[in-house]
């Protein structure tokens, strides 16, 4: 089964990094196939940023995402822009501290990632890692072990504990949401 994941937000929020970490977790640590691509404007920061991951048990040919099964979104602008690509059953995990209106399509999972990152970790920059934790707990598209390994080997040396903490906050947030709305845990490419 092919699972398409799209991350989107502003440049500087760690959108591309999040995609790389997810793809690394799936391909290196869970032994699946994964392809990560990205799309960005010429600006270094502040422009729209998009990162896409395709995960499958089989060879991945077309490397881009057309109709995301999972959409992780960190800006209202990106939410508007990509809403039309969503399917009825798409899992939408959005940073509810930055986006106030829930998506009009898909299954909404609000995670106040930037707020939690500031309050619990003291660093808003780990919001993307909190969202990765939530994604893992909500969708099961990669295992928690694989995700944790991928996070720890991808972040700068010296920031491992901070990022581990962020990831576990994300796991817990995801679990909370799944208990409230358990119908999306069917996205493992193995199933």
């Amino acid at each position: 089964m092919r699972v398409e994941v799209r991350f989107s937000g502003f440049g500087g929020q760690g959108i591309v990094t999040a995609g790389i970490i997810l793809a690394r977790a799936a391909s290196i640590h869970d032994g699946k196939q994964a392809v990560q691509t990205q799309s960005y404007g010429p600006e270094a920061r502040g422009g729209a940023s998009r990162s896409e991951v395709v995960i499958s048990d089989e060879e991945i040919l077309y490397p881009k995402v057309l109709r995301p099964d999972i959409f992780v979104v960190m800006s209202g602008e990106a939410m508007q822009k990509y809403l039309r690509d969503l399917k009825k059953g798409s899992v939408v995990i959005y940073d509810s501290s930055l986006i106030k209106t829930p998506p009009a399509k898909g299954i909404a999972y609000p995670v106040p990632a930037t707020l939690l990152a500031k309050r619990e970790v003291g660093k808003p920059i780990v919001a993307n890692i909190i969202l990765l934790g939530a994604l893992t707990a909500i969708t099961g598209v990669v295992s928690r072990e694989a995700m944790e390994k991928a996070v720890l080997e991808s972040v700068p040396k010296g920031t491992e504990e901070m990022n581990r903490k962020a990831l576990h906050i994300g796991f817990a947030e995801g679990e909370k949401l799944v208990r409230a709305q358990p119908r999306s845990r069917c996205l493992s490419p193995g199933s």
Binding site: I20, A23, R24, S27, I28, Q33, A34, V35, Q36, T37, Q38, S39, Y40, G41, P42, L61, Y62, P63, K64, L66
Partner: protein, 374 residues
């Protein structure tokens, strides 16, 4: 072993840089340009650690000049760029062809013309790779479609450039350059270095009669070596008014590639044996094309794929053969560059599906196009 090996999750541009190190490249000169910059960025860190040299030049003209000079000093060398930088390099592409300098030029193609869409993929530079510099000459151009091939074909590009003493282009696109995938990098790769002629040999531009390739000579061995872009005789000295010398030299520059074309050319065929419709694609587009072929087969249409790994020399005989028994559909991220080659060889108009704007054909678009051909 100095290059990265084992199972890794890598970006295409970084796999290319590691392929260069594996192939023995120890000199890189470049000027950063999206979407090729990671090649330079990576080599800036890596080359000094393996005894190599990295220089950021003032522009792309300087970059290609520097790698040509490095190779004549005896070091394998590479540069990497994208459209606008590629255009600037063209004068010295001809110089490298004329002086038979083995160099590798990586072009991570973005949308042109001019500065166009800097962050978007295209394959609008492929004819420029073949004919971009003035005068008659031949080159080799390769087109990777995966991160694994960014490594493997970079190694291949070096080996071909050394074997035929010719500039070799790695014509990737933004998708393949920026994409990340799992790769398996071998501990050892096969490498080839152009053999040197003996010290003080006078006719060091005299070709081997079979391969038409002369042995290499380098500076710093205690003898005069003369390297010029002017028409030169077999001693390397200018002979600019001699029609015979010029004709012989320029014919050989082209023939050394044409005569060895069957040895150089690499393609990948899928379901070609019974195909009634053959898609022809290369680079990122070929991945969509293969997905489309599988879908078309599932729908009962006998489709096949010819994926060009070598763009130049062009696989003329194979395309001619396929054209006799199948309809040909060319897919490109440009307005029809390889299509011209396919039409030239098949001597007929072919079906063509272009895609511009920085987007890749989707498998569904290709399936729809082929189904509508009936």
């Amino acid at each position: 072993m100095s290059h990265m090996h084992g199972t890794r999750f890598l970006q295409g541009n970084i796999a290319c840089a590691e392929g260069a190190i594996a192939a023995g490249c120890r000199f890189f000169a470049g000027y950063p340009i999206t979407p090729s910059t990671e090649v330079a960025e990576w080599l800036a860190q890596r080359l000094p650690r393996v005894g190599g040299v990295f220089i950021q030049m003032e522009d792309e003209i300087g970059s290609i000049s520097a790698i040509i000079g490095a190779r004549w000093a005896g070091v394998k060398a590479m540069t990497a760029t994208s459209g606008p930088g590629f255009s600037l390099m063209m004068e010295n592409v001809g110089f490298a062809a004329m002086t038979e300098t083995p160099i590798v030029i990586v072009n991570i193609q973005r949308s042109g013309p001019s500065t166009g869409q800097p962050t978007m993929p295209a394959s609008g530079d492929v004819m420029q790779a073949r004919f971009g510099s003035h005068g008659d000459y031949a080159v080799i151009a390769l087109s990777p479609n995966s991160v694994q091939e960014m490594f493997e074909l970079t190694v291949e590009a070096f080996n071909l450039s050394e074997r035929y003493r010719v500039p070799v282009f790695l014509m990737a696109d933004e998708i393949i350059g920026h994409m990340r995938e799992k790769v398996h990098l071998p501990e050892e790769v096969e490498t080839f270095t152009a053999p040197l002629s003996r010290r003080g040999a006078r006719y060091y531009f005299r070709p081997d009669p079979k391969t038409l390739v002369p042995r290499m000579q380098v500076f710093g061995r205690g003898y005069n070596v003369h390297v010029t872009g002017l028409t030169h005789d077999e001693r390397g000295y200018p002979a600019t008014n001699d029609a015979k010398v010029h004709t012989k030299l320029v014919r050989r520059l082209v023939e050394k590639i044409e005569r060895n074309a069957e040895r150089i050319i690499k393609v990948e065929g899928h379901h070609l044996d019974d195909a009634e419709v053959v898609l022809i694609a290369y680079g990122a587009v070929s991945r969509s094309a293969l997905a489309a072929v599988r879908e078309l087969r599932a729908r009962g249409i006998k489709a096949g794929l010819l994926r060009l790994i070598t763009l130049f020399p062009f696989p003329e005989r194979l395309v001619r053969k396929l054209a006799r028994r199948a309809r040909l559909v060319v897919l490109e991220m440009n307005l029809g560059q390889i299509r011209r080659e396919v039409e030239r060889c098949s001597r007929r108009r072919v079906h063509f599906l272009p895609k511009l704007g920085g987007e890749l054909h989707t498998p569904r678009e290709i399936v729809k196009f082929v189904e509508a051909l009936k």
